[in-house]
């Protein structure tokens, strides 16, 4: 079976972002960019499916401007077979991206689409569930384990109360949580090899999908800053402060 994996180019998770002083957004000029961490888990899971003989081909797809191809190259260096770049200069919303991905699913006919549960830039946590809805496929979100047996996917997911196990009939959507696997680092020879792997670039406008924005960002603000407090010498002083100064314990 074919597996389709989505990857997004985002500000690296170690970068402390700055809000622009005019409130128009976040300053991402000259900031280190990386693959969204959850998407690394997605690519890794698809590669493991191929290595286990479950998947025959791993196709990665990214929506974004030309620089998204760098992120696709990273996925190819990890081991994906080929890539599709949906070129868009505009930042698109999850609903629009889900519609575009549905078109690609129609063309490629994968049995599984694996997406990160959320992107760490806009923290929406929507695209996988939306794509599942548009395709009328079952969804296994926030996955920490996925096992395939013929047309059945047994999926363990993380919930607020613990863990939950579902059985899904393929084709299906998986969204990944961080404990699904440990993503591999691309090795230098694989990075070289990835340069020769194909990236098919498609203009978003050519797909006949309405990608117009539904949300208008009116402004972006800094959150209130929390000031550091004091250091105390020992546990006894701490308990005393919590009891008599902060009054948060009895």
């Amino acid at each position: 079976m074919k597996v389709l994996v989505t990857v997004k180019r985002v500000v690296d998770y170690n970068v402390r972002i700055r809000v622009k002083s005019d409130g128009s957004g976040v300053d991402i000029d000259n900031v280190k960019m990386s693959m969204n961490p959850f998407d690394e888990n997605s690519v890794e899971e698809a590669l493991r499916m191929r290595e286990a003989g479950v998947a025959s081909e791993v196709i990665v797809v990214s929506v974004g401007d030309a620089k998204s191809q760098e992120t696709l190259r990273t996925a190819l260096a990890m081991g994906a077979d080929r890539a599709i770049h949906l070129n868009s200069a505009d930042t698109l919303e999850p609903l629009a991206i889900a519609k575009l991905l549905a078109k690609i699913v129609e063309q490629e006919d994968p049995q599984v689409v694996i997406l990160g549960k959320q992107a760490i830039d806009d923290d929406s946590n929507q695209t996988g569930q939306m794509l599942a809805a548009l395709l009328n496929w079952p969804q296994g979100t926030f996955a920490s384990k996925a096992e395939f047996d013929g047309d059945t996917l047994t999926l363990r997911r993380e919930t607020d109360a613990g863990l939950e196990t579902l059985k899904l009939s393929l084709p299906a959507i998986i969204t990944t949580d961080l404990r699904l696997n440990e993503p591999r680092y691309p090795k230098l020879p694989d990075i070289m090899k990835a340069k020769r792997k194909p990236i098919d670039s498609i203009e978003v406008d050519s797909l006949g999908v309405d990608t117009s924005a539904r949300l208008t960002v009116l402004k972006v603000d800094e959150p209130p800053v929390r000031e550091a407090g004091i250091k105390v010498a020992d546990a006894a002083e701490l308990v005393d402060k919590l009891r008599n100064e902060a009054k948060v314990i009895k």
């Binding site: 402390r16 972002i17 959850f38 919303e93 999850p94 609903l95 760490i120 830039d121 806009d122 923290d123 929406s124 946590n125 929507q126 996988g128 569930q129 939306m130 599942a132 809805a133 496929w137 969804q139 979100t141 926030f142 919930t159 607020d160 109360a161 613990g162 863990l163 939950e164 196990t165 579902l166 899904l168 299906a172 949580d177 961080l178 404990r179 539904r214 949300l215 208008t216 960002v217 009116l218 402004k219 972006v220 603000d221 800094e222 959150p223 929390r226 550091a228 407090g229 250091k231 105390v232 010498a233 020992d234 546990a235 006894a236 701490l238 308990v239 919590l242 009891r243 902060a246 314990i249």
Partner: protein, 313 residues
């Protein structure tokens, strides 16, 4: 138009986050309804009826709604949406799972994890792990919203007298089956509603030593949390995780023990009223947000704290 709150529950208890979501709903309009979609959930319907400020409880009863499967709830929500201007649910794992699916069925762009209501179409939501706050205006005719519980005070769970309307729902998505649930059993209070939380990180070092965090929690009648590093290392179960991709908490007192304070962790706890940090590394970023810090070995400091608390009990 009316506002619909889709409640989280386990067929016997109404999740407390529903009270925070109702608070957000009352800021949007005064005719607030609650949907209880479940199986043999009469107790939950009774609890929902009593929620202050709610005029109607919609009750959908079917075996296909027993386990919170997004496929079925999204269908139900889609069938009801035409009567409402806004549909809200908690930005919990439950809400995050089904709400975007319902939004796509309705061709609506969901507004995730709101922390404030500005007007009927304008909301504030955190992005970049809460390091920026985005104010967005929606052009969709129906608004689908997930609500960050810690940003809205709970409404009273009693005092209401809503009428109950039974709905007919008999759809069951065929290509998914609920198999089992493995719930972490803890005698400690719920992490998302606790007044005090003791939370352990990588510095705790092992699953066995994590018992120390539990002991302190017991002394303080606190819930227990953990950083991602501690969960990844297997010291604590996944549902303990506090942070950008785990739970967001805002207790009166948050005690971070052996937690360095990565921005992803701070995203889940920096709205706590009082933060205490115990860490042997005085450069740890957690001290930058802590009201009280102790630079020291947690294996010395925490037992001393327990002793000091016992001594004056």
């Amino acid at each position: 138009m009316s506002i619909l709150v889709i409640a989280e529950h386990d067929n016997s208890h109404l999740n407390a986050n529903t009270l925070n979501t109702v608070q957000a709903a009352t800021q949007l309009g005064d005719d607030v309804h609650i949907l209880i979609a479940g199986h043999q959930a009469a107790d939950v319907v009774d609890a929902a009826k009593a929620v202050n400020g709610v005029s109607k409880v919609l009750h959908a009863e079917h075996a296909s709604l027993a386990d919170g499967l997004a496929e079925n709830i999204a269908w139900l929500v889609k069938s009801l949406a035409g009567d409402y201007s806004h549909l809200l649910t908690s930005a919990s794992n439950f809400g995050k799972n089904f709400m975007p699916r319902a939004a796509a069925l309705l061709d609506v762009m969901q507004i995730s994890d709101i922390t404030a209501v500005i007007s009927g179409d304008t909301f504030v939501r955190p992005i970049y792990a809460g390091n920026a706050l985005q104010t967005v205006q929606s052009a969709d005719s129906i608004k689908l919203i997930t609500v960050r519980s810690t940003s809205f005070d709970a409404v009273a769970s009693a005092g209401g007298a809503a009428e109950v309307l039974s709905l007919t729902f008999d759809q069951a998505y065929e290509r998914i089956e609920f198999v089992s649930r493995d719930v972490t059993i803890s005698e400690r209070p719920d992490l998302t509603t606790a007044k005090t939380i003791t939370s352990g990180g990588r510095g705790v070092g092992s699953k066995e030593d994590f018992a120390l965090i539990e002991q302190l929690a017991e002394q303080l009648n606190a819930a227990v949390g953990a950083s991602r590093a501690a969960v990844d290392a297997g010291y604590a179960p996944n549902d303990y995780q506090v942070g950008q991709t785990g739970k967001v908490v805002a207790p009166d007192l948050y005690i971070a023990i052996g937690i360095s304070g990565a921005i992803q962790h701070l995203a889940g706890m920096k709205e706590s009223k009082v933060i205490v940090a115990i860490n042997k590394d005085e450069e740890a970023p957690i001290f930058g947000v802590a009201d009280y810090g102790i630079v020291g070995d947690l294996f010395e400091v925490v037992p001393q704290m327990i002793e000091a608390l016992q001594a004056t009990d």
